[in-house]
Symmetry: C2
């Protein structure tokens, strides 16, 4: 894998652990996941990693822009491998998230940004509940 190079390009030292995680997360298939989800996938891949390292790596990956964290009021942090700006459906009952491409939403009117600030990203969450 050239995930070693991806990590270096992101300014991260390519440790054994980060490569394991990059191999799982940066394979082109997008997903939403928790730290615990990831630790399970690491186990399934035949490796073992402390939960502290999983969290450390997720923070580094996030700050490096390799993954994102999703806004949600669940008590568990949810991460997202889809780096392209996009939005979400949120199943309020299960917490499941589904991606919405930016081109499926059109925000034609935005409020004035408060003085001294700039818009650093817009998140749209469409909450879903079961029909009937």
């Amino acid at each position: 894998m050239d995930n070693k190079i991806k990590l270096r390009n992101a300014g991260l030292r390519p440790t054994k652990q980060r490569i394991i995680i990059a191999d799982i997360l940066l394979n082109g298939f997008n997903r939403h996941f928790t730290a615990e989800n990831l630790q399970n996938e690491i186990s399934i891949s035949g490796n073992k990693m402390s939960i502290a390292t999983v969290y450390n790596c997720l923070k580094k990956f996030k700050n490096a822009g390799l993954i994102k964290q999703v806004e949600s009021y669940t008590d568990t942090a949810i991460f997202d491998t889809n780096n392209i700006s996009h939005h979400h459906f949120l199943n309020e009952e299960t917490g499941e998230l589904i991606d919405i491409n930016n081109n499926e939403i059109n925000l034609v009117k935005l409020p004035d940004i408060p003085k001294g600030f700039i818009n650093s990203g817009v998140d749209v969450i469409i909450k879903l509940k079961k029909n009937n």
Copy 2:
């Protein structure tokens, strides 16, 4: 105060504690707050309430539709007295939220809702960062 009546109309038994909270929250001025913020305001008002009761009441108020909880990836739950459907600016550095009226945002295009579900609310969060 007719907060006693407001509570009854919301289907909540108007206990001493709920009236204290209603007097603080339901005064017409909208705000975003945490459970701890509220407990402090209760102290300032000359009263005393266990944190368990603060959480119990917030959950009841929320389920009764008197307040809302805001989507946010901070580790602390943020509640909102503004019941009218609206959106938020989020200062990413401080976590501060500012209301955006619905009429300041115009979503002209929405994606198809997944089969079997209905749209139960759209939240727009405009993240802010300091300009230069």
